[in-house]
């Protein structure tokens, strides 16, 4: 194993951005306060000083314009990283994403490419209430032509962002505001994490927990609790929600015969249902029990800390879900 460093998720995002901007002058960052502030969490701190305004563009609070600008420049060969400060603000840019970014390649019969990387962050953890804390990934899974990824570790955050920038499809990377200051091992040398490939975060025999983003950390905590009860849980992080690495889920569930799917986003009409359906379709004979979903409540996120925490799954919810499927 080569040398690693222990860095934060925030710094992993910054390293990926810096490396890609150094590698290719067509890569540029555009977003609200990505320059002077260096992003709300410091994920682009220092990049304006290194790269200048040509590659680090503080945009006005105009999400439609900054996303339209990203799309227009991408069809000309630039490779924008368009940052939407909170995923909740992406509502203003949905037209440019859904009607334009993902349509041009097909409408041009493959002649036009739109290599836009959208970076944003969602979820609870900062007492931001209902318009700054949502988990909206399910919307994007419903957009043909869009790749949707949600890194849960510094290693994945860096490797997925670098792959996204190099991919010729529009990609949305949804980070999580409760993850920026978590830490993890990242290789000294350059690496990529491929889009569309899941990762087994913990090996186990009795149950498969499929979890995304911040819920991966909660699932790992649940797995440690369950171990004390003699239950061996495998934790799988799809990393890319779409295209889904179905085979990784299927392989695990065929082994464990039990599955819990965990998302902070509400279950109703969501990606957790897609994951669950894939497992039911492909592992029906192997499943000892139906797949159980442990998901956030279908509600606006309330402001007080304890109420905010109360509407999203935690290790205790997940452990309870596992015990339910294990009967």
């Amino acid at each position: 194993m080569s040398a690693t460093r222990n860095i934060s998720y925030r710094d992993a995002v910054r390293e990926a951005t810096r490396e890609e901007m150094r590698r290719d002058k067509n890569v540029y960052l555009i977003g609200e306060d990505v320059g002077r502030w260096g992003n709300l969490f410091g994920a682009s701190a220092g990049l304006l000083q290194e790269f200048g305004w040509e590659q680090v563009k503080d945009a006005p609070i105009s999400e439609a314009a900054l996303m339209g600008c990203a799309v227009g420049s991408a069809i000309m060969g630039m490779r924008p990283i368009a940052e939407i400060m909170y995923i909740d603000f992406i509502t203003i840019a949905m037209d440019q994403i859904v009607n334009h970014a993902v349509k041009y390649h097909q409408l041009s019969n493959g002649q036009v490419k739109v290599p836009v990387t959208i970076r944003t962050q969602g979820g609870i953890g900062m007492r931001n209430s209902s318009q700054h804390s949502q988990s909206l990934e399910n919307w994007f899974v419903n957009v043909p032509g869009l790749i949707v990824a949600m890194p849960s570790t510094p290693y994945d955050a860096k490797g997925l962002l670098k792959s996204a920038v190099r991919d010729d499809n529009p990609v949305i990377l949804i980070e999580h505001k409760s993850l920026y200051f978590t830490r993890g091992e990242v290789p000294q040398e350059e690496y990529l994490v491929p889009l569309g490939v899941a990762d087994v975060k913990r090996q186990g025999q009795d149950v498969t927990i499929v979890a995304t983003s911040y819920m991966v950390l909660q699932a790992l905590a649940a797995a440690r609790q369950l171990e004390a009860d003699g239950i061996s849980a495998e934790v799988i992080d799809p990393r890319t929600l779409w295209p889904l690495d179905a085979q990784a889920l299927v392989d695990s569930v065929k082994k464990t015969r039990h599955c819990v799917v965990v998302t902070e986003a509400p279950a109703e009409g969501g990606w957790s249902g897609e994951a669950s359906a894939v497992i039911h379709e492909r592992c029906f004979r192997e499943l000892a029990r139906p797949v159980k979903r442990v998901c956030g409540l279908r509600t606006g996120v309330p402001y007080p800390t304890h109420l905010e925490k109360a509407v999203a799954p935690d290790a205790a919810w997940i452990a309870a879900g596992v015990k339910e499927v294990l009967g």
Binding site: A65, I75, P80, Q96, K103, Q111, G145
Partner: protein, 320 residues
Amino acid sequence: MNTDDLLRYYSQMLELRRLDEMLLELKLQDLIMDGFHPYQGQEAVAIGVGAALRPDDVVVSNHRPQGHAFAKGTTSRQIFAELLGRRGGPSQGIGGPMQFIDAPNNFFCGSIVGSGITIAAGVALFMKREGQGRIAVCFFGDGASNTGSFHEGLNLAAIWKLPVLYILENNQYGEAMPVREFVSADPISKRAAAYGIEGTTVDGMDVLAVAEAAMAGAEKVRQGAGPVLIEAVTYRYKGHYGGDPDHTYRTRDEIELWRQKDPLPRLKTHLLSLGVPEADLARMDQLIVQRLKEDQAWALAQPFLSVAEATDHVMIPLTK
């Protein structure tokens, strides 16, 4: 502008008029979708602006794009095929009348009102960095001037001095609503001042006036002055979509008044005064119609894409 230029504008406007008439006929036969948006009446805008463009400029157009595409260089034959949904169209027929892409011709359009205003800014961001004097040209209507994209896009283009020529085609109606009921500014070009950019209003029924304004505006934009907005005041004869219930929002008399300003007879009178024989112009019309009939017959003989071909480019496959 010499007589050859004027003859070219006349020929282009005439071909566009005849093309649009034939497209409307195809719509009435249900071979083109019901919501097809005819361009008749507005030809002077597309052709006048087209006179100011270089082949490597990029046009971002809207839901009524056939005139703009034609002026940029997409052929009538290609337009027939695209609107009929067949191979040979710029998007091989999967885009249809409102959202096709002619990539080799640097032409884009889309059917969400106003969106192109922001996309054109991004195209121009690249051109500004490239520094070759290319410009983005964005066509949109009076209705689009009320969208958030208009405000966000013009502001962004203005603060970054992006090379975009914005062409606002004021054709008097946003679908069925009269412009004076829904746009607060009169003329609409006054809105440019709010973004600190130049805004002018021209007679959009006069191809020479449009061409002069577009050439002057394009030159400023190419020189790095930032975006320029030109409002071309014009009129659509055939409704928002062909066969819309236009008696609910306008009178026959009103249409007739605008037809008296039709750009084709106006330029014809001018050409005759310059000594161009009337018979030459009549012959030009015959030749255009004959060629268009051939183009239409060709387009109607083209096959459709298969389902597999039509859905082949949703996403570029991942390489693992």
